[in-house]
Amino acid sequence: MYKELNPILLSQLRLAIMSYLMVVQEADFNTLKAKTDASSGNLSIQIAKLQESGYVEVIKTYKNNYPLTVCKITADGTEAFEAFYRALKEYFGGPDTGK
């Protein structure tokens, strides 16, 4: 029924991660965990799926000697999100749907 919509973004958590990253561009794992209210395990799995799809880049680094995982939206990710949003607007049949 919703064939035209990108299945990677039709997951609640993956879509939340991508929506958040569309605004802030990059965020660390704990911020994403707090903002999406997800469990660490589920968040890791969904980030890995987004990474496999090339929508996010995962950078492992250190801050104050503590490991820090940073997720950054890629150009492909931005394009996929915009296409997904356009498809949603078309689905509801109006350019104003998103506002």
């Binding site: 609640q12 929506s19 605004v23 990059e26 469990s39 589920n42 820090l68 997904f84 509801f92 998103g98």
Partner: protein, 196 residues
């Protein structure tokens, strides 16, 4: 949000996008502190300058601005340093926000220098720059009170064409109340409401 991967329908997708984007935008709004700090300092400096100039008739009244910088700059830097520790990763909008205000600060000092060299009042030029910086901030944060504050700063700048230097100080203090203090308090109220 959920343990299992939930497949969404289009309606739910739109809701998730809206809610998450609102949340992300809100996290960029915790900048009320700087508007309040500089708002109060500039208002105090304007009124002190006006008082010293008109009542005490002291020609070196402009020195009150030095006091504003001596208090404001360390307070702002200290706040940023403490805040930076909490912020693991600076985001792109946050970075641009910082650059706009850095550019504003540099432009303001150049404008003040040029005005002093040419015997002009720097106030209208500062207000034009303030209006521009508030306008860009308001656009980045999607926060309407800042856009209205920018309009107030520009209007105050234009009104300086008809005001004496002393009156311009009062126009600037009004612009600061509308452009810095009011949006600053509204930003903080929004953040506080979100944490309840």
């Amino acid at each position: 949000m959920q343990e299992e991967e939930k497949v969404l329908n289009p309606q739910e997708s739109l809701r998730v996008i809206r809610e998450t984007i609102d949340l992300a935008k809100n996290s960029l709004r915790e900048n009320g502190f700087h508007f309040l700090l500089w708002g109060w300092l500039v208002v105090a400096a304007c009124i002190a300058h006006y008082y010293v100039l008109t009542v005490l008739q002291e020609p070196k009244a402009a020195l009150v601005w030095l006091g504003m910088i001596v208090i404001g700059l360390p307070a702002a830097l200290l706040y940023e340093r403490r805040h930076e520790r909490k912020r693991a990763v600076p985001n792109q909008v946050g970075k641009w926000y910082g650059r706009v205000w850095l550019g504003f600060g540099i432009s303001m000092f150049v404008a003040i220098f040029l005005c002093m060299a040419n015997g002009l009042s720097p106030i209208p030029f500062i207000l034009v720059l303030v209006g521009f910086a508030i306008f860009v901030s308001g656009s980045l944060l999607h926060f309407k009170p800042l856009l209205l504050g920018a309009a107030a700063a520009w209007a105050a700048a234009a009104s300086c064409a008809f005001l004496t230097m002393n009156e311009q100080l009062l126009a600037m203090s009004i612009a600061m109340v509308l452009g810095y203090l009011l949006p600053g308090y509204l930003l903080n109220a929004k953040v506080a409401a979100r944490h309840v």
